[in-house]
């Protein structure tokens, strides 16, 4: 018999007899009665409490806001998605801009082909999100070919773009609304703040392995703009 068979057989022939599975009642982690503005406010409060930085911006000129944030931080190289609207709009903005933008980089090759550059040269990356969770101040990311896993991890600054109406109350609401159980991506992430540690005498330090800073740009519409949203879905 293999180890697998022996383990399973031992579990099946349990001395205490079969066990009955208690039913789930997940109301405690799912039922919240929050209005959209409350969710936004809570999300902001929670992520700021762990050193996230939130900027609520109008979608019509969010790239201007981004440009000034990048300039303040003296960002030299910004990793952007090639396909996603976020990347397209940044490229458009950079093309038309009078002021200087960082060098825009794309994750066009496999990591093996440009690992030293990603690790040593790219100092910021911007990614889209699949929404956020108000209760814990978490961003939801499903890395893709266009926005690979390491984009949100390796550069010292991660900028995440969040649609204002994509804030879920709870993790439970997010996974049920988006029907995660029907098909998980190879990697799904919740990100709540920049990388941190308290392993040295309980003292918080940021940027231990991942980004030292996390910026969240929440895109809001003063007037509805359908085109961007169609693209994001």
């Amino acid at each position: 018999m293999t180890a697998r068979q022996r383990i399973l057989q031992k579990l099946r022939e349990r001395r205490g007899g079969p066990l009955k599975a208690p039913a789930a009642d997940l109301a405690i982690v799912s039922e919240r009665d929050w209005q959209p503005e409350e969710k936004l406010a809570l999300f902001t409060q929670m992520i700021e409490s762990v050193q996230g930085e939130v900027h609520r911006v109008d979608r019509t000129h969010w790239c201007d806001e981004l440009a000034s944030l990048l300039a303040q931080r003296h960002i030299q190289q910004l990793l952007i998605p090639r396909q996603h609207t976020v990347g397209q709009q940044i490229r458009d903005a950079a093309d038309q801009a009078y002021s200087a933008w960082p060098r825009l980089r794309h994750y066009d090759q496999t990591i093996e082909q440009w690992q030293p550059e990603l690790f040593h040269e790219v100092d910021a990356a911007i990614t889209s999100t699949r929404g956020a969770i108000a209760e814990t101040g978490s961003l939801i990311l499903w890395p893709t070919q266009d926005e690979p896993r390491l984009a949100s991890l390796v550069p010292p600054l991660h900028i995440a773009v969040l649609e204002a109406d994509q804030v879920y109350a709870t993790f439970h609401e997010a996974i049920t609304t988006q029907q995660w159980a029907n098909g998980m991506p190879t990697n799904a992430l919740l990100i709540s703040g920049p990388s941190k540690t308290a392993d040295i005498e309980q003292t918080l330090a940021y940027g231990v392995h991942g980004p030292k800073a996390l910026l969240v740009l929440i895109l809001e519409s003063s007037a509805p703009d359908a085109s961007y949203k169609d693209n994001i879905q």
């Binding site: 205490g16 007899g17 079969p18 066990l19 009955k20 208690p22």
Partner: protein
């Protein structure tokens, strides 16, 4: 068949009875009979007749906690018949009360005494809890102004769920100022045979506990349990720390006793 996770038990207090059984506990019997007598007199002052079963010895807890369940069961079994009527059983100790209320059902599971043990468990009450929530006692303070600290035993706090009771009773005493120790919920290090098997660790715990009590500025502390009392008081005495302890029942009776009895 195992089906559920353990539920936190809900306490449903009985109406105030005419009579109660008083289960004195072995430590009170030998070392602190004053505390037992104070408890009895407090009950009687509330108009309750106190029955003191003569056959009582020990609840069985020391052997139970040490793993000697055969011996614990035989001693506990000898106690089960002491309470034939349906009156509440009151215990001036969270530890012994906890044994009877929380552990008798497990100890007697699958034995002929199981239902008897369960019934006894259900009507066992920690005495201060009983005074406050069943007797609705109103204390009239006759003593001089004083300051005390309180240590609620871990079993009173966690097994009997009476952490709030002592402070509430003390707050009824007009001339008594209750001061709270740091880390009030932390164990004093008694733990029965733990103090003997792991004397150094127990000593470190009781030393910290006595220091927290001293740091409150009080020179006296009261407690729900004689184990904690002999541990903390004994340590403070041996190491000349300026704090003395007594059982909360002795203290309550002293403060309110003379005028009413």
């Amino acid at each position: 068949m195992k089906t559920e996770t353990a539920q936190t038990p809900v306490k449903i207090y009985p109406p105030k009875p005419d009579k109660v059984y008083f289960y004195g506990t072995c430590l009170i019997d030998l070392f602190y009979p004053d505390a037992g007598m104070a408890g009895i007199q407090l009950l009687e002052r509330e108009g309750i007749e106190v029955i003191f079963p003569e056959g009582q010895t020990c609840c069985g807890q020391p052997a139970y906690s040490s793993g000697y369940h055969d011996q614990a069961r035989s001693v506990a079994a000898s106690q089960l018949n002491l309470f034939p009527e349906a009156w509440p059983i009151v215990v001036p100790s969270g530890s012994c009360g906890g044994m009877m209320r929380q552990h008798y059902p497990d100890l007697f599971a699958d034995t002929p005494q199981s239902s008897q043990a369960n019934a006894i468990a259900a009507r066992t009450w920690e005495l201060t809890d009983f005074l406050l929530h069943v007797c609705h006692i109103q204390l009239k303070d006759l003593g001089e102004p004083t300051t005390v600290a309180m240590h609620t035993s871990c079993s009173a706090r966690r097994e009997m769920g009476v952490a709030e009771v002592g402070p509430q009773l003390l707050s009824q005493l007009a001339n008594v100022t209750l001061v709270e120790q740091a880390r009030a919920a932390e164990c004093c290090g008694f733990g029965g045979t733990f103090a003997i098997r792991h004397p150094e660790i127990s000593a470190a715990m009781v030393s910290d506990k006595a220091d927290s009590l001293v740091d409150t500025g009080a020179t006296r502390f009261v407690t729900t349990d004689c184990g904690c009392l002999m541990n903390i008081h004994g340590h403070a005495e041996q190491s000349h720390k300026p704090i003395q302890g007594e059982h909360i029942l002795s203290f309550l009776w002293q403060r309110t006793g003379e005028a009413h009895s």
